[in-house]
């Protein structure tokens, strides 16, 4: 009995050293993350097109505290805006631009388009802060999604949208002003850059997508 216990302990120790040496061969002190291997498993991720933003694996939190992947926005065209709720300069104008776009659609078209706003401010924009923002701006629950996420994931989404941003020391963010239209598959089909711009091209793009 004692012998088997001893040999078991020996075997475990041997295994552990083998693992350790494997890890050091890779030049790291910590075990290699299995994140990427998990992504390889077929079936776990719906097949998105090569140009779809919905391929990203990041998980986001809505203003009601629900966790979601961007892929769950698939199925209808989305108007995407990156913003932050404490913004006092550009974002209110961009918010107004989104409302103008929504208002330019017929009620029927409007139900077939989603508006998704993602915050740069990972510290302040908690689900609660975003819920308050929704109230302040009177954003319909239906079709309007407000998301917060991890800093790394915000950076990745910004990179995918071609949005530049930078935190300033006073808690504000400098950022590009871009309203992006994704088709139902999550591919970028149009981007409107600037503040208080002519929205007609964006609206026309959405109407065409909804008709198809």
């Amino acid at each position: 009995m004692k012998k088997t216990k001893l040999s078991f302990a020996l075997a475990t120790a041997l295994l552990m050293t083998a693992r350790l040496s494997q890890a050091s061969e890779l030049g790291t002190n910590t075990p290699v993350r299995s994140c990427c291997a998990a992504m390889e498993t077929p079936g776990s991720v719906p097949a998105y097109t090569d140009k779809s933003l919905y391929q990203v694996e990041s998980t986001w939190t809505t203003d009601t505290g629900k966790a979601m992947k961007l892929g769950s926005l698939a199925g209808k065209p989305q108007v995407i805006l990156m913003f932050f709720s404490k913004c006092t300069s550009a974002c209110p104008i961009l918010m107004n631009d989104l409302k103008r776009i929504s208002a330019a659609l017929t009620p029927q078209e409007r139900t077939q388009v989603g508006f998704t706003m993602v915050s740069f401010d990972t510290d302040h924009d908690t689900p609660l802060a975003l819920a308050e923002y929704r109230q302040t701006w009177d954003l319909p629950v239906r079709n309007w999604t407000l998301l917060s996420g991890r800093q790394d994931d915000v950076l990745e989404l910004a990179a995918l949208l071609g949005v530049k941003y930078k935190a300033a020391a006073d808690g504000q963010f400098a950022h590009s002003n871009a309203i992006t239209v994704l088709n139902a598959k999550g591919e970028i089909v149009h981007q409107q850059v600037g503040l208080n711009e002519d929205i007609s091209e964006t609206v026309q793009t959405l109407i065409k997508l909804v008709k198809n």
Partner: protein, 269 residues
């Protein structure tokens, strides 16, 4: 009689010396950190462009930085373990058509990409995925610039005109078709190699380079739109290498794959 306590004392002192030496060695061993990474101590990064509400100095917390850029050999290992990043399988949104352009095949670097040369033609997404696979991350602009501001002899090399001149000379030299091996240069003050003189490198927040005249950036004023006025808000108008890196970074998109753009990883302590 008087000698004896003295001897005792000496022995005790000797013993404590050993203790101290032992502790020091342990501390040094801990400081050596992960393989092929160097410790960058706490410091300050001086951003090139400042808007009215920016800090003049950004504190950089001590971190580990790869001593060398990631090589072709390193990247090949990553591709073996993560087939979805191989050239024929990568999704177009994560890397443009030039991805691993100088490789002969999916798992065959070929003669244009020698094993010990820095891997290039990699997108920001690919670099990020590699870093995550290694349990690391990409350094930030502040971290990279701070680490790269050291010359071979001093941590504040940026104030040494000769150091700046050497970097500029590299910027004006065309990149060779086949990149030389990493580590052929003298290490900088922190022990890092090739931060200058071999390839440009991706950083995590490459997309934070907003020119002062960008719409929406805080503190925009009309004068910044004038030709050449971009330099008005700059910290040091004669730091040409910093301007060049800033310009290069702001021209990048995350899916770009370029011949002279590679990367290295960082890690928190």
């Amino acid at each position: 009689m008087q000698e004896k306590p003295n001897l005792h004392c000496r022995a005790a002192r000797l013993r404590s010396c050993w203790w101290i030496a032992g502790c020091l060695m342990l501390a040094l061993a801990a400081k050596a950190g992960p393989a092929n990474m160097v410790l960058i101590p706490n410091g300050l990064y001086h951003p090139l462009f400042l808007s009215a509400n920016d800090l003049k100095e950004v504190p950089v917390k001590s971190f580990y930085l790869d001593a060398f850029p990631v090589t072709v050999k390193d990247f090949l290992e990553f591709l073996r373990a993560n087939p979805r990043w191989q050239r024929s399988r990568v999704k177009r949104i994560f890397a443009d058509e030039s991805y691993l352009n100088n490789w002969a095949g999916d798992l065959d670097p070929g003669t244009n990409a020698p094993a010990s040369s820095p891997v290039t033609y990699v997108s920001w997404f690919a670099a990020k995925a590699y870093a995550e696979w290694k349990g690391k991350r990409l350094p930030t602009v502040a971290e990279w610039e701070y680490a790269a501001s050291a010359s071979a002899t001093r941590p504040d090399g940026e104030s040494d005109p000769r150091f700046k001149a050497e970097i500029l000379q590299w910027y004006s030299t065309p990149t060779p078709l086949v990149l030389p091996a990493v580590g052929a240069d003298t290490a900088n003050f922190f022990g890092a190699h090739n931060l200058h003189g071999l390839v440009w490198e991706w950083v995590a927040d490459f997309n934070s380079a907003l020119i002062a005249g960008d719409p929406g950036s805080n503190g925009v004023s009309e004068r910044r739109f004038f030709c050449g006025a971009g330099s008005q808000g700059a910290r040091e108008v004669d730091d040409y290498p910093a301007f060049m890196r800033y310009a290069f970074r702001s021209s990048l998109k995350a899916d770009y794959c370029v011949h002279n753009l590679g990367f290295r990883c960082a890690r928190d302590l």
